[in-house]
């Protein structure tokens, strides 16, 4: 596998660049919550709950707060703007119908929404028979060194542990797991992209996931 830097453009890692941390993931994760993040999370939860009660103005707020992130998720997986916009429309119509089932105390609101977007985008790509987007040499937007409040919401204690545990994997395991997540790739697609036998790819990832599971479970 090619050596490459991980996600140099994303909010977390640009922070890491700014901090000059040598360990890729641990250092970039901020304190579990900040007043900004709590307020943003609260705003989003309120918008979601009100959307669940068919409040259109809340739905507009929800759209304003989340459409850029969800479009980013769709765009990454679909690989083209038009398709990503079509998928995004379906995502918001789904959210409109499903918002009532969001459980405020439990799920992270932005992660809950982004998962809907990810699933719909993957379904579109598979139904359309499109090849997965070419390997992204991670996004190069180093100018933005500040994560949005919505992003910081995701960077909680759980994220801290996940990054810590991902950090302990071999690079190729970590790369493959990250690609599976961000690009929505199956084993077969990952194997093809990296030109390795399917069995090899499965083995890498399974061993990586096992280590991740043991690491995440350490102090459950």
């Amino acid at each position: 596998m090619r050596e490459r830097r991980q996600s140099t453009g994303d909010a977390l890692n640009s922070r890491r660049v700014a901090l000059g941390a040598d360990r890729p993931y641990h250092r970039c994760v901020h304190a579990p919550s900040t007043p900004d993040a709590d307020a943003a999370r609260q705003r989003l939860v309120e918008a979601l709950v009100a959307t669940g009660a068919e409040d259109r103005s809340a739905f507009r707020t929800l759209y304003r707060l989340t459409s850029a992130k969800l479009f980013g998720v769709c765009l990454r997986i679909c690989g083209e703007r038009q398709a990503a916009e079509d998928v995004l429309s379906e995502v918001y119509l789904t959210i409109w119908k499903r918002a009532g089932a969001f459980e405020p105390g439990r799920a992270s609101p932005i992660s809950w929404l982004a998962t809907i977007a990810r699933n719909r985008a993957i379904d579109w790509r598979r139904a359309a028979g499109r090849a997965p987007p070419a390997r992204v040499e991670e996004i190069a937007d180093l100018a933005d060194d500040r994560a949005s409040a919505e992003d910081i919401m995701l960077v909680d204690e759980r994220a801290h542990r996940l990054y810590g545990c991902l950090d302990e994997l071999d690079q190729r395991q970590r790369d493959a797991i990250r690609s599976a997540f961000f690009d929505g790739l199956t084993y077969a697609e990952l194997a093809q992209r990296d030109a390795v036998p399917l069995g090899t790819m499965k083995s890498w990832i399974r061993r990586g996931l096992l280590r991740l599971k043991d690491c995440l479970g350490d102090d459950d």
């Binding site: 998720v73 990454r76 916009e85 405020p104 982004a114 994560a147 995701l154 990250r178 997540f181 995440l216």
Partner: protein, 235 residues
């Protein structure tokens, strides 16, 4: 994730819950993992836990603005026909998928908006079948799926415990949550259950049958034992 990790038969570690959460599996492996999710609530919870864990990574996805009028176009469609494809199940089904995904709680049922225009069906759709492995039966029982009529039927009789119903479930697309379908009833020598969906269910759809209280699952997610499962294929 405290349960011990056991190696699978072929020596590979069993990380199916994480694989399902990431969407790595295809074909038979995916079907097997989905069936396991239906049959094993602890496994289903583990899938959900992985999904939440990985959800933290969304922070890394760089936001990007959709077209400037995109939001208004979405809002204009809020009262329109439901979106097609797998997200467009009846409200109870949508709620159910969230229950199954561990996101239960406030379940707000909405009346369905104006019915969607019937999908244009070109000629006769190819017949589709699903070979059910039923508990207590050695041989699979082959069910036929009539996508136009939205009905799944198989040879009867089906042994349903007194005072219970047998309910059909489907898992479609990337969302691993089961959607509730109809209850099995006798139809001559066969048994059948409604299997209606906004679009015909594609090959690869996983079906399951669970034993539920009379009238079907009260929660919208399977509550009783799963007695059979199958993957839909073209005949």
């Amino acid at each position: 994730m405290t349960e011990p990790t056991v190696p699978m038969d072929d020596g590979e570690p069993d990380v199916a819950a994480a694989e399902l959460a990431l969407g790595l599996l295809e074909g038979d492996e995916r079907s097997a993992a989905l069936r396991r999710m239906l049959a094993d609530p602890a496994f289903a919870r583990e899938v959900e836990r992985w999904r939440e864990q990985f959800g933290a990574l969304f922070a890394e996805v760089r936001g990007s603005e959709p077209g400037h009028d995109h939001g208004e176009r979405v809002i204009a469609r809020l009262d329109g026909p439901a979106p097609r494809a797998s997200g467009a199940w009846r409200p109870v089904a949508i709620a159910a998928s969230l229950v199954a995904a561990g996101l239960s709680g406030l379940l707000v049922m909405r009346p369905e908006p104006a019915p969607a225009p019937a999908p244009v069906v070109a000629a006769t759709p190819a017949p589709m079948v699903a070979a059910f492995m039923i508990e207590g039966h050695e041989a699979p029982i082959v069910a036929t799926y009539d996508s136009a009529g939205g009905m799944l039927s198989m040879p009867g009789p089906m042994p349903i415990p007194e005072g219970k119903s047998a309910q059909l479930w489907a898992i479609v697309g990337s969302d691993p949550a089961p959607h509730p379908l109809g209850l099995f009833r006798e139809a001559g020598e066969r048994v059948e259950a409604e299997a209606k969906s906004p679009a015909p269910m594609p090959a690869g759809t996983t079906f399951a049958i669970s034993i539920e209280p009379l009238g079907g699952s009260p929660t919208g997610a399977p509550t009783g034992p799963v007695v059979g499962s199958a993957t839909l294929i073209r005949a």
